[in-house]
């Protein structure tokens, strides 16, 4: 057996030169794409953090602040008033940024605030203050909450779900955005009319009914087989097509269900407490969407 042995020194040197050229070529390729790669990575890690924050928000916060952040038993976060510089952050006279305010609130909670206008307290979440989450998890939740900025700032005065705190140094006298306008002496109509044509709010495309049922959090409170929902806070909606016409004499099933969604407290189903079902659905869905939801609920 002779075995492999390259004897020619010229060949060896050529191999060496070729390999060096390949190495340099590959490294140059990396060098040219590095700037773009780093930008992409930076954006990716922010996205990844938001993804993880979303999962934590869904388990820890959605029950009080709403799946869409528009408030339930706790205040709205996905709100124009909350995100705008002249809104919440100015009214509470917080010296830092909104991001810091959010992080501080989440990490420390508001443990001493009982008996405020909110039926619940904001719990403490940061491990440094006795809560369950590590600092990196708190950061992820903050990233997620702050990611509402774009959609919150796109809200019109009518859409802002903010409800004012009753115990702040400068209480806002009206619901969020509307209150802000009032301070500068504008009505929402005047404000909207003053916007240039391209900034006029366009209605977003209507969402399908089955999606609304989860997106609006109905599934958290109601049971409904076709939506795989098993909530038990409110009445079971499976028998709705049968019972809707009999709830209020003289009211058609469509009218009744519509009323139950936009103004839940107008009629309280026996055995259930009033004031539990959120009252702001008329602001959070378009007319068309509510109609399609009603039709969908009434289909057996």
């Amino acid at each position: 057996m002779q075995g492999i042995y390259i004897k020619s020194p010229i060949l060896k040197i050529l191999i060496g030169i070729l390999a060096t050229l390949i190495t340099i070529g590959a490294i140059l390729l990396v060098a040219f794409t590095e700037e773009i790669r780093m930008e992409e990575q930076a954006a990716s890690w922010e996205g990844r953090s938001i993804e993880n924050g979303a999962a934590l928000y869904a388990t820890a916060c959605a029950s009080c602040h709403g799946v869409d952040g528009k408030g339930a038993s706790g205040p709205a976060l996905n709100s124009y008033y909350f995100f705008t510089d002249t809104g919440r952050i100015q009214d509470v006279e917080f010296p830092g940024s909104l991001r810091q305010y959010v992080k501080l609130t989440i990490a420390a909670g508001r443990p001493s605030k009982q008996q405020s206008q909110w039926p619940v307290r904001m719990p403490t979440w940061g491990a440094d203050y006795g809560g369950p989450y590590r600092d990196d998890q708190i950061e992820e939740i903050v990233d997620y909450v702050m990611n509402w900025r774009e959609s919150a700032l796109a809200q019109t005065p009518y859409e802002d779900p903010w409800r004012c705190f009753e115990d702040v140094p400068t209480p806002c006298d009206e619901q969020g955005f509307v209150g802000l306008l009032k301070r500068v002496g504008l009505t929402p109509e005047e404000y909207l009319a003053g916007l240039p044509a391209e900034a006029q709010p366009t209605p977003p495309p209507a969402r399908p009914a089955e999606l609304l049922f989860t997106e609006m959090g109905c599934n958290g409170c109601h049971a409904l087989t076709k939506a795989n929902a098993a909530g038990a806070v409110g009445p079971d909606l499976d028998p709705l097509p049968q019972v809707a016409g009999e709830r209020i004499p003289g009211m058609s099933p469509e009218e009744y269900v519509y009323e139950s969604i936009v103004n839940p407290d107008a009629y309280i189903v026996e055995g259930f407490p009033p004031g539990v079902m959120p009252t702001n659905y008329a602001q959070r869905m378009s007319e068309e969407e509510i109609r399609s939801l009603v039709d969908w609920l009434l289909q057996p």
Partner: protein, 543 residues
């Protein structure tokens, strides 16, 4: 001779030439330019051989033999595996020291530092990938080197101790690789090392096991102390140990000479150091050019693989509260993981590997057969092959495919959108995931081909598990995709089924996907090259 005298004899030009020659000879540690030219032309050295001088003049060359036996310089004799192991170690040393610049070994910072390295340091990802690839290649190549010396019987007298130090080097290499595993402080790292160190806990008697575990982890569980200890092991203690044993190992290799092919000497003889003058291949220049060209070639291969094909994984940050669905050891410990499935922790995790290691180290002292020829070593070679096959089978049993399976719906979702890493759902990307409710029991027009393929996989997985598990029947999967926030979609996986008794079951799991997210399998030029090139030219155009 004084300068003036020289000046007079040679003239100013002649003196400059003499000076240049002198400098050249100093730089090459004793080879004058004329001799260097003769080397390049491939002419034989004069007598006495002036090319030996650098070996006595320089530190690095004094370690190397001045000549080799021609038969051992063939690539197919050693495959240069020992040299490659050495090279990889120094490559790891250099890339590792560079990586240390951006890394602090604390649980608060380690993972963030990894992210910063990837997104803020030019060549950061390249360095990390190269270091990781080098580490895995080193394990593979050191093992291959051991197999080669086993097959050529090179551990036989007088090289028993060379083999013994080699086994120590193998163990140190494995520990080096494994201790580096923890440093990124991600889920992959944390749980692999938690399982690894828990094996130390199984060392009998209990008090010893607990102490070893406590020493390794610095606390009952891995945390700040454990990370610091692994870091120190990885960057200081183990490399120092490896350098020390490398020099012991290599001293022995040079001392005895590389063993000749068995067919070239009598059984029981060792003539490696008695090289007839006509079979000598001198280190300078022949072996040196050979090694240099081989190493540049290997470097090119390594770099090309790093740039185009290899991505070091980085999962989510370590979370002691959340055990991942399938924890996996690094591939070179799959065999151990396989073994752990058969027997309990003390036997499979400590006693058996311990016995194996002692046996491995003792091979040269147990094998009394004086012959290194394959024909005479049937038992040794067959048992080597059997041992290797066993390792492969055990490794297969230790792979994630053979892992203990969770409940079918959990596995289905894990298959399509795993807890860690990419999976098909993330692979098709944010833009290809259409909003709406999609069910496996419906045949509809899907908005795009990629998504149609994903739903096909969803249906296939549901079918597969129904065939596999009698408690999983009439299963229906549903995927709800909604817009959770600007540029953030929510994916709700929901599966219903009936068990063998007809009782219904349901399972749901939600994940989010951001438009900008890329998962580690998607890093690297392999996936993003065209995209980068396009963006690069677009940014040029704008300027």
């Amino acid at each position: 001779m004084s300068v003036q005298q020289q000046m007079r004899e040679k003239g100013p030009l002649g003196m400059l030439v003499a000076l240049a020659e002198d400098v050249f000879t100093r730089v090459t540690a004793g080879i004058p330019p004329g001799e260097f030219r003769r080397m390049l032309r491939g002419e034989p050295p004069g007598r006495p051989n002036p090319r030996l001088k650098p070996h006595s003049e320089t530190f690095l060359l004094h370690i190397r033999p001045t000549y080799y036996h021609e038969s051992v310089t063939r690539w197919t004799h050693t495959f240069r595996l020992g040299m490659l192991s050495t090279y990889l170690f120094f490559l790891e040393l250099i890339t590792g020291i560079l990586l240390m610049i951006w890394y602090a070994p604390t649980p608060e910072r380690a993972y963030q530092d990894m992210i910063r390295l990837l997104s803020n340091v030019p060549f950061g990802q390249f360095l990390r990938d190269l270091h990781r690839l080098g580490a895995e290649a080193m394990v593979a190549i050191v093992t291959a080197h051991m197999v080669r010396t086993y097959l050529t019987g090179s551990y036989k007298p007088p090289r028993q101790f060379t083999w013994f130090t080699g086994v120590i080097l193998l163990v140190v290499t494995l520990f080096l690789s494994f201790s580096g595993y923890l440093l990124p402080w991600d889920q992959l790292a944390f749980w692999a090392v938690t399982i690894g160190t828990s094996m130390a806990e199984a060392v009998p008697p209990q008090i010893v096991g607990e102490t070893v575990n406590l020493l390794a982890r610095g606390a009952p569980d891995i945390g700040a102390n454990g990370l610091l200890r692994f870091y120190l092991l990885h960057v200081l203690f183990l490399p120092a140990l490896l350098i020390l044993f490398f020099f012991v190992h290599y001293y022995k290799v040079v001392h005895f000479g590389i063993s000749l092919p068995a067919s070239e000497e009598e059984v029981g003889e060792d003539t490696a150091n008695r090289v007839p003058a006509d079979r000598r291949v001198y280190f300078l220049p022949d072996v040196a050019t050979d090694e240099l060209s081989f190493l540049t070639g290997f470097t090119a291969l390594l770099i090309v693989v790093t740039v185009f094909f290899f991505q070091a994984p980085l999962e989510n940050i370590a979370n002691p509260q959340q055990t991942p669905l399938h924890t996996v050891a690094p591939w070179y410990f799959y065999w151990l993981q396989g073994l752990l499935k058969i027997a309990d922790k003390t036997i499979a995790g400590v006693i058996l590997p311990g016995i194996l290691l002692v046996l491995l180290a003792a091979i040269p002292y147990l094998d009394f057969n004086p012959s290194r020829r394959g024909r005479d070593r049937r038992v040794a070679i067959v048992s080597g092959i059997v041992a290797g096959t066993m390792m492969i089978i055990l490794s297969y049993m230790g792979t994630p495919q053979y892992a203990v399976q969770a409940a079918p719906p959990v596995e289905i979702v894990q298959e399509l959108m795993p807890e860690e890493g990419m999976g098909p759902a993330r692979e098709i990307g944010y833009d290809n995931l259409p909003l709406g409710v999609w069910r496996t029991d419906e045949e509809v027009e899907y908005p795009n081909e990629e998504f149609a393929k994903l739903m096909e996989e969803f249906k296939a997985a549901t079918r597969k598990w129904q065939e596999k598990d009698p408690d999983f029947n009439a299963a229906v999967g549903q995927l709800t995709i909604s817009q959770d926030q600007p540029r953030l979609k929510r994916l709700d996986w929901y599966i219903t089924w009936f068990d063998a008794q007809g009782a219904p079951g349901e399972f749901s799991r939600s994940f989010w996907l951001h438009q900008d997210s890329i998962y580690w399998e998607q890093y690297g030029l392999k996936h993003r090259f065209l995209e980068y090139i396009r963006e690069f030219f677009m940014s040029r155009q704008e300027q």
